[in-house]
Point group: C2
Chain length 217, copies 2
DNA sequence: CGTGCCATGTCAGTTGCTGTCATCGGAGGT
DNA sequence: ACCTCCGATGACAGCAACTGACATGGCACG
């Protein structure tokens, strides 16, 4: 027989997600998580750098996805188009890997706590930096690369929020495309004046099924 | 005579900024800050909610600035144009209030520490949310408002980074305008293909004086 | 069959942050 | 002149997140 129950990390994740959902993030202590997992506090910190990491350990391979997508974009694509492609790919992976209901549970925990929102933001900022670096690698200028990365992530955030609150799985890439289309319409003079309500251009179905609260992480 | 030296808050800020600069943020304890300021640890936390707040207490009135700028934008302006106006206004205020050298010192402290970067990001995210809310107030649709807010802040970040590393004061609003112009060129088909280096459109001087490191906050 | 590895346990310590109560100069009223 | 309340600070105790150092014992590998 083994000395310890297997899958310590998994038990810690399960216990943490449960407790975060039950009592909220702040009001669960690491000692409680460890106890529910049948481990010690010290062991928790051997698997997760801090209390928040449990919610973010899953997205470790995203940077590689972004890099690969940008490296594989057609040579004639604009920087922004390449960045768009990259975040669409990530969206697809997220939607497949964990699914929308998991994303929603996770989102609910995160929006309830500023510390977690900070962690989420720094993750997204690092994705933006990854995109910018990959674009620079292709010869795109500094400012254009950074802008494309930052803006692509900004658009993705909006699309992701819409998706999480939506009713059906598997449409995150489409929502992302729609959000990019809407962004283009926002910069195009002659559309989307302040004061008119739906700024979504025809063809982009960004406003499908009515607006949702779309809590901003 | 008064019971205590006056301006406790100011002394705390001075002591904290000095120590953060000298030893770095993590390696200065609140006890040290309080001691240098001639106060107790407990008093520090009466003035600043946490150790990081010292670096962020100055930007409290920015949301009002953003709201006012958007409320005062011409009725015919696009949402993105209104958002651009707002962040330009903020840039002007920041440049005037503290100046570029202070901004650089502050930036150096922040880029050296992830906790502080998180705090910076959540501040910027709240600005984006403020812009979005102000636009919604004017009848702009949910998605368009969020997109404009997020993207305007993303562009502002890039412009700010360029400004902080640049050589002269007072040009932040111009750099912001240039960054917006470049963003437009990035979405315009036919320019800024991947593989060509300077994507800045003619007239927008976004690439003035050669690229800088532009460390991302 | 021996030996070293590695995941976990144990324990002690630092630090950020909070609650609570005491203290005392100053402002305002009488 | 005296009283009284207020507000800023001090003093102290405590919690919880994290860290470093060392011990332990199955298990893989030679």
């Amino acid at each position: 027989m083994t000395r310890w129950e297997p899958n310590a990390r998994g038990r810690l994740e399960l216990a943490a997600m449960e407790l975060y959902g039950e009592r909220g993030f702040e009001r669960t202590t690491v000692a409680e998580i460890a106890e529910r997992a049948g481990l010690t506090e010290r062991t928790f910190f051997r698997h997760y750098a801090d209390k928040r990491e449990v919610l973010f350990a899953g997205s470790g391979e995203v940077p590689q996805l972004l890099e690969a997508a940008i490296a594989g974009a057609p040579r004639r694509a604009t920087p922004m188009a390449a960045a768009q492609r990259a975040v669409e790919t990530v969206g697809e992976a997220i939607a497949e890997q964990r699914g929308r209901v998991f994303a929603r549970r996770r989102r609910d925990i995160i929006v309830a706590n500023p510390e977690l929102q900070e962690r989420e933001l720094i993750k997204l900022a690092s994705w933006a930096a990854t995109i910018a670096a990959a674009l620079r690698e292709r010869g795109v200028g500094e400012a254009a690369a950074r802008l494309s990365g930052e803006v692509a992530i900004a658009v993705f955030r909006v699309a992701f929020a819409t998706w999480v609150d939506g009713p059906a799985d598997g449409e995150l890439p489409e929502l992302t495309r729609a959000a990019f289309a809407e962004l283009r319409s926002l910069s195009r003079p002659g559309t989307g004046r302040t004061g008119t309500s739906p700024a979504a251009a025809g063809g982009a179905r960004a406003t499908r099924r009515g607006k949702r609260p779309a809590a901003a992480p």
